[in-house]
C-alpha cells in the first residue's frame, strides 16, 4: 500500500519540478496536451480496463465540455470555473441517459453504438451554428482566472492541468482499491459471478461511464480555455479512436497506462510531424492515421495489455500483487 503511494508522490514531484528544469514553451505545450489526454484516458481506463466496457464516443464528451464552457463563458460571461462544472454536469447527464440503453449491448455492438453517439454529437457541433459557430469555429474563449492570477501562459496552465490530472488519478486509484473497484473489475472477470454475489452490474457500468464522461468533459473544457479557439473537427470520431489507441498503448489495466499512453501518442505524433515531411515531401495529415492504425494493430498482437503490463512483466511485478501485498498486510499470508 505504501509502495503504491510512493509511485504516486514521485510522479507528483516529477510533474512539479519539470518546468523549473526545462525552460521550453514548446515542451511545456506538449506536456499540456499530454495532460488533456491523460485526463480523458484516466476515465477511459477505468471504463475499459477495469469494467471491461469499450467506448468509441469519448471525443463527444471532450467536445461537449469544450463547447459548453466556451458558450457559457464567452457568450454569457460566466466564470470559466462555473462553466467547466456546468459542462461536466451536462456531460454526466448525457452519459447517464445514453448509457441506459447502450450498456445493454456488449462487445462490437457497444463499440458501434458509442461510435454512433460520437458521430451524432459531432454533427450537432457542426449544425448548431448559432451556439457553436459551426465549421467556422468558436473564437474568443476567455482564459481561466483564479483571483488576479490568469492561466494565460504555458507554465501556469501546465500546473493547472496537471493538478487536475493528478487529482483524478488519485480518485481513480482510490476507486480501484475499494468495494467499487472490485465490483467494476468483477464485471470484466465474470458477469455471471458478479450477479451471483449481488453486484448490480448495470449500475456500476453506468457509474463508471458517467465518471469517464466527466473526466473527458473537464479535459475538453480546459482544452478550450487553453487554445481559446475550437472547431468541430477537433472532436470528430478519429479523436475517439486516438483515445482508444492511447489507452491500449499505455495499458488498460493500470491507471498509469493513461499517462504513458497519452505521452507516447503525443510524442510520436510530434515526431511524425518532424520526420515524415523529410521522407515524403508532399504528405498530408493522413500518414498519422496510417501510422497509428498500424501501431494499434501491432500493440494488440504483441502487447495486448499495453506498455505498463509489458513493463511489469519485465520487472517481475504483477498488478494485483501490489494491490494487496502480504507485506502490507502484516502477517496475513504465510
Amino acid at each position: 500500500m505504501h509502495e503504491r503511494r510512493l509511485g504516486t508522490w514521485l510522479f507528483a514531484l516529477g510533474i512539479l519540478l519539470f518546468p523549473l528544469i526545462v525552460h521550453s514553451n514548446y515542451l511545456l505545450s506538449i506536456l499540456i496536451m499530454i495532460g488533456f489526454y491523460s485526463l480523458v484516458c484516466n476515465g477511459l481506463t477505468m471504463l475499459m480496463g477495469y469494467a471491461g466496457q469499450i467506448s468509441l464516443g469519448h471525443a463527444a464528451f471532450y467536445g461537449i465540455g469544450a463547447y459548453t464552457t466556451a458558450y457559457l463563458s464567452a457568450t454569457h460571461g460566466w466564470s470559466p470555473w462555473l462553466s467547466i462544472i456546468a459542462g461536466a454536469i451536462i456531460s454526466a447527464f448525457i452519459a447517464f441517459i445514453v448509457g441506459i440503453p447502450t450498456f445493454k449491448l456488449k462487445g462490437h455492438y457497444l463499440a458501434l453504438a458509442t461510435l454512433g453517439f460520437g458521430v451524432i454529437v459531432y454533427t450537432c457541433f457542426k449544425e448548431f451554428t448559432s451556439i457553436t459557430g459551426g465549421m467556422n469555429g468558436f473564437f474568443g474563449i476567455p482564459s481561466i482566472k483564479l483571483f488576479a492570477w490568469e492561466f494565460s501562459n504555458d507554465a501556469r496552465f501546465y500546473y493547472l492541468i496537471w493538478i487536475v490530472v493528478f487529482l483524478s488519478l488519485l480518485f481513480s486509484q482510490n476507486i480501484i482499491h475499494s468495494r467499487v473497484g472490485r465490483a467494476l473489475r468483477s464485471i470484466e472477470g465474470s458477469e455471471a459471478a458478479s450477479d451471483a454475489v449481488g453486484i448490480d452490474i448495470m449500475r456500476y457500468k453506468l457509474q463508471v461511464f458517467v465518471y469517464s464522461a466527466i473526466c473527458a468533459s473537464i479535459a475538453g473544457s480546459l482544452y478550450a480555455h487553453y487554445v481559446t479557439f475550437i472547431n468541430p473537427q477537433a472532436f470528430d470520431a478519429m479523436l475517439s479512436i486516438y483515445f482508444l489507441i492511447m489507452v491500449i498503448t499505455g495499458g488498460a489495466s493500470s491507471i498509469w497506462g493513461a499517462v504513458i499512453g497519452s505521452s507516447v501518442f503525443v510524442l510520436l505524433s510530434e515526431l511524425l510531424k518532424e520526420v515524415v515531411p523529410l521522407v515524403f515531401s508532399n504528405a498530408g495529415g493522413e500518414f498519422e492515421i496510417v501510422f497509428f492504425g498500424v501501431l494499434l494493430v501491432v500493440m494488440l498482437i504483441y502487447m495486448p495489455n499495453g506498455l505498463t503490463a509489458a513493463w511489469k512483466k519485465i520487472t517481475g511485478k504483477w498488478r494485483t500483487s501490489t494491490t494487496l501485498s502480504p507485506a502490507a498486510k502484516g502477517g496475513g499470508g504465510r
Binding site: F171, S172, N174, I175, H177, S178, R179, V180, G181, R182, A183, R185, S186, E188, G189, S190, A192, A193, S194, D195, A196, V197, G198, I199, D200, I201, Q207, Y211, S253, W318, T320, S321, T323, L324, S325, P326, K329, G332, G333, R334
Partner: protein, 261 residues
Amino acid sequence: MKRNGQVLLTVERITKQFGGVVAVNDVSFDVNKGEILAVIGPNGAGKTTLFNIVTGILAPSSGTVRFSGTDITGKKPYQIAQLGMTRTFQNLEVFTNMSVIENVMTGAHRNMKTSFLQAGLRVPSVKKEEKAVEEKAMRCLEKVGIAHLAYERAETLPYGNQRLLEIARAIAAEPALILLDEPMAGLNDEESRRLVEVILQLRKEGLTFVFVEHDMETVMAISDHIVVLDNGVKIGEGTPEEIYRNKAVVAAYLGEEETVC
C-alpha cells in the same frame, strides 16, 4: 415424509417451457433451514433449468419461488443474491483478473456500503471497511482451507482450489442459502473428500445447501433430502434411504445409472 424445520426456500408448481418443449413441469418442493438438499436426475431432466429459475437467470412460465418469505419469482439474479442466496458454478467463474483474497472480498459486496464518491475521496469509513472485509475474507479462506494462497493470482490455482475459492466467495456474502451447481464435477477423489468436509462443516455452522449433482456417491453420502427429476417432472423425493427404495426412481434413474453417467 414430512420433515421438521423451518422452510427457507419454497419452489411451488414451477413450469418452464421453451417453445413446445416443457423443460420443467409443475415441480414443487421445500428446502428447510440447515439442510443439504440434492436435486438429481438424468441428463436433460431439467435440473439446470430449475437451478436457473431459482437463481433468477430464467423466469418460469408459471409457478412461484419464495425465499425466506419473499416472493423472488422474476427478480434479477443480483437482487436474489442481495437477499442472501449465493451460488457456485459448474464451469468455474472465478474472477481471474484478481487475487484470491480479492475474489473473496468481492463476495462480501452486498454487506458493504462504500459508494463511488466515497471510494474516490477515500473517506475514513472506507479504510475501516476495507480492513474489516480483508480480515473477513481471510477467515472465509481459512474455512475452506486455502488461506495460504490468499495473495496468489486466482487463475493460477488448480481446479479443485478454484472450486473451494468459489465457495469461500459465496460464504463471504454471509448468505442463508448456497446453491452448488455440480460441485464435484472435475474433482479427483482427494479434492472431492475435502469439498465434502467443507460443506458438512459449513452446514454445522448453520448454512443451507441446495445442489445439483451427478456423482451419486456424494449425493447419498451428504444429502438430508433428495428431489428426483425425470423429463422435467418430479418423480420422487425423500431421504437417501427412501430414494433407494422408491421404485419409480430406481426404474427411471438409478437402474440405468451406468448408461446415464
